[in-house]
């Protein structure tokens, strides 16, 4: 079973390193994408991925590499600083293309209208990192992960870490989060 990490942390940091180390213990099939270095063009809502080129964006950028890994993965991990109670642009540039993981048709799941998943169910894990603790923004981040999971018909887990927390504590939180994954 393979794992994809979409890492939007700014520069080298011990949280990314620790997460990668723990994930490698879970699976040898790990794709770790450092998004800050990747060229991903914004969605222009052109609609071509609906019927002209079903499930594939016509733009030539690094997102295709991520989507090949995501399509065959069992677990997708989003790691990013919390920005405006959600994802920073460095992560959102990839998340906007999650629409390609869904079909253009509709269904109802858990009392909500959604698009059926193109590649089946997966586990979505959201890890946010805050500079300053804010319960309200933490809840907002978690709700965003939950909504992404609802849209993808994924299982999900999420946590928000404080950058100033002790690394041992962070390790424990990551370990707890990864229990039962894969």
């Amino acid at each position: 079973m393979s794992i994809v990490i979409l890492d939007a942390m700014e520069g080298s940091n011990s949280i990314s390193d620790k997460l990668k180390e723990r994930m490698l213990q879970k699976s040898k099939e790990l794709s770790h994408f450092e998004l800050r270095d990747m060229k991903i063009l914004p969605c222009r809502s052109c609609g071509v991925c609906g019927f002209k080129s079903p499930g594939k964006c016509v733009f030539k950028d690094d997102m295709h590499e991520i989507l090949y890994a995501m399509a065959k993965s069992s677990t997708i991990v989003l790691l990013a600083p919390v920005r405006f109670g959600g994802y920073p642009s460095s992560l959102k540039k990839a998340v906007d293309k999650f629409a390609l993981m869904a079909l253009p048709s509709y269904t109802v799941k858990h009392g909500h209208m959604v698009h059926p998943a193109r590649y089946g169910s997966k586990m979505l894990i959201g890890i946010g990192v805050q500079g300053q603790a804010s319960k309200e923004r933490e809840e907002s981040f978690k709700r965003l992960v939950e909504n992404n999971a609802l849209n993808g018909q994924f299982e999900h887990k999420s946590v928000v870490l404080n950058a100033s927390d002790d690394m041992n504590e962070i390790e424990q939180v990551i370990d707890n989060l990864l229990k039962g994954v894969c």
Partner: protein, 223 residues
């Protein structure tokens, strides 16, 4: 309620889609109250067609700033977050003290799906010392598909009356009222979702036939 300056940011990459149609109606209403309104496109700043310094000057000249945006993957689109990050970094002085509100719209009827977008705008206002006046959420944007609100009958009239109420609040410096939200909320009970899904899937199949009987379920990234 008159004599104010409102700057409306169209947060959609489409320059004539539903978010723009909403901004256009708000512009007409606000101007009818005697205010000056300008609409700009966030994507032009991302694409480098316009400079952030230009936006900084516009912000300084206006009393109220607003964002009209679609929900992409449950949040503001990438280029809008990029712009809000840029503004936070580079235009903090100009933004401080200005009023800010947001209008979000998404493809599904359930407006709770728009809350993270509205919250993001509220947190942006908090971070920059702006005066947050609230947000409006519209579920079912693609059904409008950029049409002018005056051309879509009762639905357009309801949305327009919601915007009118919201703008009356905004120009008095008040938070947008729940009545404005009620005007624009489409009351589709969840029990009606399945019939709606069946109808929309027929439309999907029709589009696929028109595109040359394409298999829209292809797993292209596993091939």
């Amino acid at each position: 309620m008159s004599g104010k300056k409102l700057l409306l940011l169209n947060g959609s990459p489409r320059k004539s889609g539903t978010s723009y149609s909403f901004a256009r109606t708000m512009k007409q209403l606000a101007e009818s109250f005697g205010n000056d309104v300008e609409i700009i496109h966030a994507i032009d700043y991302f694409d480098g067609k316009e400079k952030i310094e230009h936006l900084s000057q516009l912000i300084a000249q206006n009393d109220i700033i607003a964002m009209s945006a679609p929900v992409y993957a449950d949040f503001l689109p990438y280029h809008d977050i990029w712009l809000l990050e840029k503004l936070t970094e580079e235009c903090a002085k100009e933004l401080k003290g200005k009023a800010f509100f947001a209008v979000g719209q998404c493809g599904f009827p359930d407006i709770t799906r728009i809350e993270p977008l509205i919250d993001a705008c509220r947190f942006f206002a908090e971070d920059t010392g702006m005066n947050w006046l609230g947000g409006l959420a519209y579920g079912g944007g693609p059904m409008i598909n950029g049409a002018l609100l005056e051309d879509i009958g009762k639905k357009g009239e309801k949305i327009t009356s919601g915007f009118r109420l919201a703008l009356e609040n905004v120009f008095k410096g008040e938070k947008i009222s729940i009545d404005a939200q009620k005007c624009i909320t489409m009351d589709i009970p969840p029990i009606m979702y399945w019939p709606l899904v069946i109808f929309m899937n027929q439309m999907t199949k029709k589009q696929a036939r028109e595109a040359g009987n394409v298999d829209y379920t292809k797993k292209v990234y596993l091939e």
